[in-house]
């Protein structure tokens, strides 16, 4: 089974967010790095200028020993802050990483320096910003030369402090990301869940349906994404409903068709039992017999039809000679034709009318058509079976000069149990339905026509010689 949409979305969205956020953080840090460097460099420059301002009146005679001492002791942030036990230990720690400075006079003598500054020049004396390696550390140095007082100011900061700052930023970003992550996941989970609620509702609606409820699902309440699915589902429902309806109608019709002859049998038998004369009893018994024959015919046709369900396919098709089958049928039904004084004629080419199919079915098809023709044609009429072989097809025509079927009823005669009103002949009403199903099994085309003599009925069936090629 495909994993749930919710899990899929959750995992993929989280992965995408992680990727994008990481890229954003990296990009951000890269830009921040530049910004930080610029800011810190600016600070170095500013500090250099301020120091220059402080010493603008320095003449070289004033001793700076007191200032130096204070710098080393009283004003040393490391010393001062350690003593005061300040609570903001982090800020205090940061304060220790102050800028270092050196002030050199024209003789190359260090006249003033911050407590932790090295005693050797921080730079080579070239003014401006530079980065250099000194005492095992990398330094960023701003060197300012005061020509008026002949003093050189060097303001420096250790690069690893800068690095620390950046690392801190990175850590903070990652920390925030990690903290917000569960919230993000939770939100995605909830939002996707809410989005999928409609899906669940449709599923619930379908789940709670009674098997007989095949009404379409209301498309109004369905999100547009799953509308195609629901539409397909609805069309399936409709097809199912039609099939159910067809089956239900068939069962009802079959029950009707079986019960009416049974009722006739029972009634005629009761009449026979009450008959007052032997003649009357015989007459009723003959009617009972006719009823039994009719019921048998209906049952046989029903069984045939049930074997020819529309879903069936031809198992093990063989070469069937339509001419031969028609010959067999004609021989079988000839006595009935003779009894009604009907001229039964067979026109069949020898050996050219082979098709791929099922011999029994073809026999049933031809028998039903010829039987119908004989049944419905008046006494002294004609019934013609005409078989024509073409290149890829074989045509079967069964032509009679009986009453025919009006054009507007030609579609309906294939319906099960449909019988034309007003004919006194007792058929099962299933014959043409069976013919149609067998024709469909063989991918044959069936059509009802008026013969060129313009009376009667012509049933034309065109069989492909190989139904696999259709």
């Amino acid at each position: 089974m495909t994993p749930s949409i919710r899990t899929f979305l959750l995992i993929n969205l989280l992965l995408s967010v992680t990727l994008i956020t990481s890229l954003a953080i990296i990009g951000n840090l890269f830009l921040a790095h530049k910004d930080i460097q610029t800011q810190l460099d600016a600070q170095l420059i500013r500090t250099g200028l301020r120091m220059q301002a402080f010493f603008s009146d320095y003449s070289g005679d004033r001793s700076l020993t007191t200032i130096q001492r204070n710098l080393d002791t009283k004003m040393n942030p490391a010393v001062v802050l350690r003593k005061s036990n300040a609570p903001e230990s982090k800020a205090a720690k940061e304060a220790e990483n102050t800028l270092e400075f050196q002030i050199w006079n024209k003789d190359g003598k260090l006249i003033l320096h911050s407590s932790r500054a090295p005693k050797i020049p921080l730079s080579n004396g070239k003014t401006g910003l530079s980065t250099l390696w000194l005492g095992g550390h990398s330094w960023r140095v701003n060197t300012v030369y005061d020509a008026e007082n002949n003093l050189t100011y060097m303001v420096a900061e250790r690069s690893n402090y800068r690095q620390q700052l950046e690392n801190q930023l990175t850590q903070d970003s990652i920390f925030i990301m990690l903290v917000t992550y569960p919230f993000l996941g939770f939100l995605i989970w909830v939002i996707v869940g809410r989005g999928l609620d409609t899906l669940k509702r449709v599923a619930r609606e379908v789940r709670h349906r009674a098997p007989s409820n095949l009404k379409p699902v209301d498309l109004e309440s369905v999100p547009s994404e799953i509308e195609p699915l629901v539409t397909e589902l609805n069309s399936l429902f409709q097809r199912l409903q039609e099939a159910f309806h067809r089956e239900k109608r068939f069962t009802a019709d079959a029950a009707h068709e079986l019960k009416t002859p049974l009722a006739a049998l029972s009634t005629q038998t009761q009449v026979a039992l009450r008959a007052e004369t032997p003649e009357a009893r015989n007459q009723s018994l003959l009617k009972v017999l006719a009823g039994v024959n009719r019921s048998t015919h209906v049952v046989q046709q029903l069984l045939t039809l049930s074997r020819m369900v529309p879903e069936a396919t031809i198992n093990e098709p063989t070469q069937v000679d339509i001419s031969r089958q028609a010959g067999d049928v004609a021989a079988l039904l000839a006595p009935e034709a003779i009894a009604k004084n009907i001229d039964l004629e067979l026109i069949a080419p020898e050996g050219k009318s082979q098709i791929l199919g099922n011999a029994t079915s073809i026999n049933i098809l031809i028998r039903n058509l010829v039987d119908n023709a004989i049944r419905y044609t008046h006494e002294g009429g004609t019934v013609k079976i005409d078989i024509r072989a073409n290149k890829d097809t074989v045509e079967l025509h069964v032509i009679d000069n009986g009453p025919g079927i009006p054009a507007d009823l030609r579609e309906r005669v294939f319906e099960r149990f449909f019988r034309m009103i007003g004919n006194q002949t007792t058929g099962s009403g299933l014959g043409l339905g069976i013919v149609q199903q067998i024709a469909q099994l063989h991918h044959a085309e069936i059509s009802l026509k008026t013969p060129k003599e313009s009376v009667g009925l012509e049933v034309e069936i065109i069989f492909p010689k190989d139904f696999n090629k259709v």
Partner: protein, 225 residues
Amino acid sequence: MRVLLVEDDELLGDGIRTGLRHYGHTIDWVKDGKAANDVLATTYENFDIIVLDLGLPKMSGLEVLKGLRERNISTPVVILTARETVDDRVKGLDAGADDYITKPFDLDELCARMRALQRRSKSRAKPIITYANITLDPASHVVHMDEEQVMISRREFALLQKLIENAGRVISREQLNQTLYGWGENIDSNALEVHIHNLRKRFGTELIRTIRGVGYMAEKPPEAE
């Protein structure tokens, strides 16, 4: 009783017609819904009961029944059909049927139900019809007068029942003839007079009054409840 049978199946219709004749009923048989509707739309055909199939050509039995009830005709209707679902029964009864019998059925039961409907339509409680000192049993076609059995023919029984059940009302010759003969049967123009004569001979001349030019009438019995 004069029965209209509406049934499209030849063999079954023939069986019911022959069977009901044995019970002394007069049967008229139509084979499609439209014919039934046409017959029932005319005013001069009077039926005591209608036996109606539902699956009929041209017009369904239910439509025939609805049309009948819409025209405000209350003739009892028995539906005789192969449709046996509860839904079908309910539909049939709601459309105005008085009884519903499914195929296959027993002829005796059909007749008993027809008698019951006839009894109800005449608002009788007892299955035996009593008129002064005369009693009629529609089930066995036996007539008693003063506790003594009187032998009369089936047609005379039908005639007597028709007159007694409508005591106090004039029944036209046409209606009485319809009670005796189905369509297509040869009606002897004197037959009705002959039957009336026979009934008067057995039960007394004052039982049936002749209304000249109109028909016959049984007087309302003085002690009728």
